[in-house]
Every structure is written in structure tokens, then in C-alpha cells.
């Protein structure tokens, strides 16, 4: 059912547009026809007023003279540049270019951006925590250290010399004499020409002492 109130906005659009005649739906409605004609009259009156408000011819020479004076004082800021070399223009255009994005798409992009930032932060935090928990890597290096296995052992040897008692028998005396002779022979001859060895061979038996390593 045709409703004049509902179609009022359409009539305004039609009148404001270039349409001079109503479409078929509205032609059969007298109210719509009158409304459309009234709107067209309003627009015609507005156009007439706009045209009438133009200044008279005598206004323009003075206007152009004033404009010429202002233009003479002003100079183009950057002079003339061939279009292909005007990088500033391209840079400015790149900075100021905008595109229209539907609101749902913009919201979806925004949510995606927020989630990506969130996940990036989470991943970074997890990786940093993982790096703390993992044991440090062991690098095995063989370093040659000179080991001196030579040992100089100084040993003091005590010898006990027993003197014979008075109640010794003749045999014992004889033995004692022999012993003394032998001892004197040893003391005089045995140590002569003795040279301590440069190397001493020490054999350590592990476990013979409590704290031996």
C-alpha cells in the first residue's frame, strides 16, 4: 500500500536530484505529486536566489585588482617542479591517503591486531621462561696441564748400635769383634763412594692408608 509519509524522503531525494518527473508509483498519488511540485518550486526559488545574489558587474574589476595585489605579494612556496620529480607530493599523498573500511571489517582487523599482539607477548614470555629452565650447555675442552710426577724423597735412616755387655761369653766376644770389624768395614768402606740416586722409585699402594688418594 502506498504511504505518502513513508515516501516523503524518497520524494525529497528525487526533487533534489535531477529528476523532473515522478516515477510511476508516485504519479497516481495526488499528494505526492503536489509534494514533489512544491519541493521543485523551493529548489527553483533557491537557485534563483543564488543567481540573484551574484555581485554586479562593477564589483569584479576591484575584486580582481585586490586579488592581483595579493598575488604579487605572495609567491609560490616551492616554485615549479615537474610532476615526475615532485617527491614531496608523492610523500604527502602517501601519508594522507585514506581508504574507506566498513565498520565490521575495521573491528575484525582491530580484534585480530589485539590478539596477535597478545599472542606475540605470550610467546615471547614462554620462550624467555624456557630459556631460564633449560640447563646450561656443557662444553668439554681438553686442556693439557704439565704434571710433574717426580718426587724427591729424603729419608733419614737411624741405625742402632748395641754395645756388648760384660757377661758376654767368649763366643759372643768373638762375634762382637767380628761384628765390630764388619761394622767398621761397613762404616769406612760402605758409605764411601755412596751417591744418592737422582731418582727414587716410590711405589704407593692404594688403600694402605686411610686418607690416601
Amino acid at each position: 500500500m502506498h504511504n505518502c509519509r513513508a515516501t516523503k524522503t524518497i520524494l525529497i531525494e528525487l526533487a533534489a536530484g535531477d529528476a523532473n518527473q515522478l516515477p510511476g508509483e508516485f504519479k497516481n498519488c495526488a499528494a505526492c505529486r503536489e509534494e514533489f511540485a512544491a519541493l521543485k518550486n523551493v529548489l527553483r526559488a533557491a537557485d534563483t536566489a543564488i543567481h540573484l545574489a551574484q555581485p554586479a558587474e562593477g564589483f569584479w574589476p576591484g575584486y580582481h585588482e585586490r586579488l592581483r595585489e595579493r598575488l604579487q605579494k605572495s609567491q609560490p612556496t616551492s616554485g615549479w617542479l615537474p610532476p615526475k620529480f615532485s617527491m614531496i607530493h608523492w610523500f604527502r599523498k602517501a601519508l594522507t591517503t585514506s581508504i574507506r573500511v566498513p565498520v565490521p571489517a575495521a573491528l575484525a582487523l582491530l580484534v585480530l591486531l589485539v590478539f596477535s599482539i597478545f599472542f606475540a607477548m605470550q610467546t615471547r614470555r614462554a620462550s624467555s621462561a624456557g630459556s631460564i629452565l633449560t640447563p646450561p650447555s656443557i662444553i668439554t675442552k681438553t686442556v693439557e696441564v704439565p704434571v710433574f710426577q717426580e718426587k724427591v724423597v729424603t729419608r733419614v735412616v737411624y741405625r742402632s748400635i748395641q754395645k756388648p755387655s760384660r757377661e758376654v761369653t767368649a763366643r759372643e766376644v768373638a762375634r762382637t769383634r767380628d761384628y765390630r770389624q764388619a761394622e767398621s768395614a761397613v762404616t769406612t768402606q760402605g758409605l764411601e763412594g755412596f751417591k744418592p740416586a737422582n731418582q727414587a722409585k716410590v711405589t704407593l699402594i692404594n688403600g694402605s692408608y686411610r686418607n690416601e688418594k
Binding site: 502506498h2 533534489a16 503536489e34
Partner: protein, 200 residues
């Protein structure tokens, strides 16, 4: 773009102020008229339109012949108007229907005057139209002027202003409603009902 105009643009880009003045002479009236209906004051309109030409002169080096010269100038004009609207620089003078003849004479000394009676009627009409436009926001007024003064499509207006096509349509509809109220055009008497004439 005529060859002569292309030559003038090339000379203006040199820069040659005289060549640019000739270009301004070609389109100056349209820009001034637009400014006059936008800001409703002859002095402000002159300042605004000359500011447009000064900006165009300073930026003439960036004109790359991708569009017509007037389209380029109109873009600068719209930007100037919107910037001026933001800064609220110009004095807003409402030339409403209550103005007397003397006041109208003072407000617009340069109006065309064909005869006394016609002039009076015309001045009243102009005052009413300007009074109606004065009740709109500057943005709505600019959209209406671009539609009916410049003959731009809604899509072109939306691109130039930076709004949606629906907003442009609403602005024009609002301007029409205001004009209709101001010009005292009566609504049709049988406006109100769902009528049976258009049942489909």
C-alpha cells in the same frame, strides 16, 4: 581543458602571477558566489575566495593535469571552507527575512538591480533563502551548495567532504525542509494519509 587554459596553467607554474590572474578571472565568480552563500557576508566571502586563490597559487606547482583546473580549484575551495569552519574565523551574519530594505542594501551592496519592484522581491527572496541556509550547519550548507550550485553528485560530494553518501543526502533533505519552511510553501492538504492511489 582548452589549449589556452593549459598554456595559462603552464605559465602560472613558471610562476607567472599575471597568467594566474587570468585563470582567476575565469573562475573567480563561481568561487566568490560559493563563498558568499557559504559565509553570508560579502566581506568574508571576498576574503575567503581570495584565500582560495592564494592557496591555489602557492600550490600551482603540484597541479598535474589529472583533473580539470576548476575541479582542482573547487577541491581547494572546499578544504578552505572546512578549515575556516573549524577555526570559526568568519563573522556569521544572518540575513534573515526580518531585514528591512535598508539593511539588505547595506548587507549586499553589489546585488544586481533590474528594477525597484523586482529588486525588492528578489532581495526578499534572497534574504529568505539565506535565512534558511543560515539555520543549517556550515557542513550541511556546503553540501547543499555543492549539490545545487555546483551540480555535483552525492558520491562526488561525499568524496570531497569526507562523509558518507547518506550523510550528504540527509544534509540536502534538511536544507530543502528548511528552505520550504522559510519560503512558506504550504504542505499539500491531503498529505497525511495512506492513500489508495498507489497500491501495487
Amino acid at each position: 581543458m582548452t589549449e589556452n587554459e593549459a598554456e595559462l596553467i603552464k605559465r602560472a607554474q613558471a610562476p607567472d602571477a599575471e597568467a594566474f590572474c587570468q585563470l582567476a578571472g575565469r573562475y573567480g565568480r563561481r568561487i566568490y558566489s560559493l563563498a558568499l552563500h557559504y559565509c553570508h557576508d560579502p566581506q568574508d566571502a571576498e576574503d575567503l575566495s581570495q584565500e582560495v586563490w592564494l592557496k591555489a597559487y602557492q600550490a600551482i606547482g603540484t597541479f598535474r593535469h589529472e583533473s580539470g583546473f576548476y575541479t582542482w580549484i573547487r577541491k581547494i575551495t572546499i578544504n578552505c571552507f572546512l578549515n575556516r569552519q573549524r577555526s570559526s574565523f568568519f563573522r556569521w551574519r544572518k540575513l534573515t527575512a526580518q531585514l528591512t530594505g535598508d539593511q539588505i542594501d547595506n548587507a549586499e551592496p553589489a546585488l544586481q538591480v533590474p528594477s525597484f519592484e523586482a529588486s525588492l522581491n528578489n532581495r526578499i527572496l534572497v534574504a529568505k533563502v539565506m535565512g534558511a541556509l543560515a539555520q543549517l550547519t556550515p557542513r550541511q550548507r556546503l553540501i547543499f551548495l555543492l549539490k545545487h550550485h555546483e551540480g555535483m553528485t552525492y558520491e562526488e560530494i561525499a568524496t570531497a567532504i569526507g562523509c558518507s553518501t547518506g550523510t550528504a543526502k540527509k544534509a540536502v533533505a534538511r536544507a530543502l525542509t528548511k528552505l520550504r519552511e522559510e519560503l512558506n510553501v504550504e504542505l499539500p492538504p491531503n498529505e497525511c494519509v495512506p492513500c489508495a492511489a498507489g497500491e501495487y
